[in-house]
Point group: C2
Chain length 312, copies 2
């Protein structure tokens, strides 16, 4: 049996190996994805996003347990857009998840970029697909949601939960148009903190003014994830949203957009990689840099020449 | 006179227009950059990075004033990696800069991505080049430093100042390997807050353990940017670092790496754009998405075909 057959048969080891192959861009990655693809499209994908320190990881854990209680299997992809600042924090949170990692019905993977230029979004998409094919019922994508491509990835969720916390000083700043457009559900976490009423009111007011909410008016829920308060209620809100997605036909539309985004990411990523490989392999890069430093060429000339050389 | 001649002659209007052309990818952008390029390489580039709320903008403003007092002209590029969360905050800060914007020796530009996939880093590089050619002595790049390509941009600075604040709860988390490698100078801002001693000690300890610091031991400075405290001292630290760069030959090495990064960004960006244009223009994209949804093709087949079709 090859790795894909093994993972389709339920091997967690094969699942882990397939994900590693994709993450590290091993040669077999493309073949794995090609074989896995027909088995995807069944999982419910839930995006969890919000600023650092909002309690995304804790909330995701508690939601995961809630779904486990309903006998659903869970995958979690924690995306770390390689920030020197937040990277550590996210991975730090992840360490707390010992209890969940002992549950064979839960599979957790942290993803970060180091060195690769913009490949994270595409790899995240692939990891979700692998977990989906493996048979995970619920897949969480958890990210601080910074960087355009990370936002694109989270946008590909069926349901997006934006996690906010009261009293971060600049609540009004935080509740900018961007996150209002993105959120299907808002979880005000750490709802035992001061400022929860103010944040709640501001949020409701801004949602009221948003003309995009004709079909689905985003729900606002309060949670204290560390104690599990409000988590069941939040899960019910997610279920309500899925119900809406299915009955309104919005699910099909969203998934079509997701397919399109995935295709664009894939094309973009593969072309970049091919081109970079060609330039680097020929040892051409250093001599090009020299020719710029010697004022013989500008980067703009060089790019024009390379495009002419490489593209049909 | 064309726009480049005008900006080289000192027209702020031409400078603004050239930057806008690059930012919006107008047709003339490539020609502008090509003409501007020979006049670049004179400015001193200072990167200011740190978590949201650290006071980067205020500190940049105060540093800018300090340089102005020395009759140096200043450009500021505030990069907002299109976060729905931080975007607003950065732009919010920028509004405070009224006093500086009245000074004709200072030119400020905020840059954000909306919609463009990964193009921000390359555009930032171009904007810095335009300001450089215009004759700015000092150019600040200010960013929260999230996302791999944003980190690459800031890495291209001559000097990187990492701004930290005490008492953010998870100081130890924040001081991860990543920022230790990146920072030439650490500014502990809001140094009148509790926890400054602890942060300072932790930082010094971790810098002590870092083996990369044989040639340049990063300096740690305390500031209260809002009051201007420590800003002159911080500028002296920057000057010390520049002195080190020049005498050690490290400046040449850094700028060579910068040229290489810029070239790679440029190639990557132009190829992606060309390919996307071809696919989108032909109206091919929608039918490709359909063929995936109908299970006639997988994204992986499609990418393989497109690569074969487009690349020589």
């Amino acid at each position: 049996m090859d790795i894909v057959q093994e993972l389709l048969a339920g091997s967690r080891l094969a699942l882990a190996r397939a994900i590693t192959a994709v993450e590290n861009e091993y040669d077999e990655a493309a073949e794995i994805m090609q074989k896995v693809y027909p088995f995807t499209g069944k999982a419910q994908v839930i995006g969890i996003t919000g600023p650092p320190g909002a309690g995304k990881s804790t909330l995701t854990d508690k939601l995961a347990k809630e779904y486990r209680r309903q006998e659903k299997t869970v995958g979690i992809v924690a995306v770390d857009p390689t920030s020197p600042f937040y990277g550590g924090a996210i991975l730090g949170d992840r360490i707390r998840m010992n209890e969940l990692t002992l549950d064979p019905g839960v599979f957790i993977r942290s993803m970060g970029t180091r060195g690769s230029l913009g490949g994270l979004a595409r790899k995240t998409v692939d990891v979700i697909k692998i977990m989906d094919a493996f048979g995970k019922d619920i897949i969480f994508i958890e990210t601080v949601g910074v960087g355009q491509s990370e936002v694109d990835v989270i946008k590909a969720s069926d349901t997006i939960v934006v996690v906010l916390v009261p009293g971060q000083g600049d609540d009004i700043q935080a509740i900018k148009a961007g996150i209002l457009e993105i959120g299907d559900i808002f979880a005000i976490n750490k709802a035992d903190y001061d400022g929860v009423e103010r944040l709640n009111t501001e949020l409701e007011m801004m949602l009221e003014l948003n003309p995009n909410n004709a079909l689905w008016r985003p729900l606002v829920k309060r949670t204290v994830a560390s104690r599990g308060d409000g988590v069941e209620d939040l899960m019910q809100a997610i279920n309500e949203h899925v119900e809406y997605l299915v009955t309104s036909g919005e699910l099909i539309r969203r998934r079509s957009i997701r397919t399109k985004n995935e295709l664009l990411l894939l094309i973009n990523d593969h072309i970049s990689k091919q081109v970079m490989d060609r330039i680097s392999l020929g040892g051409e890069l250093d001599s090009l840099v020299n020719s710029i430093e010697d004022h013989q060429q500008t980067p703009y000339n060089i790019v024009r020449n390379i495009l002419a050389e490489i593209l049909r």
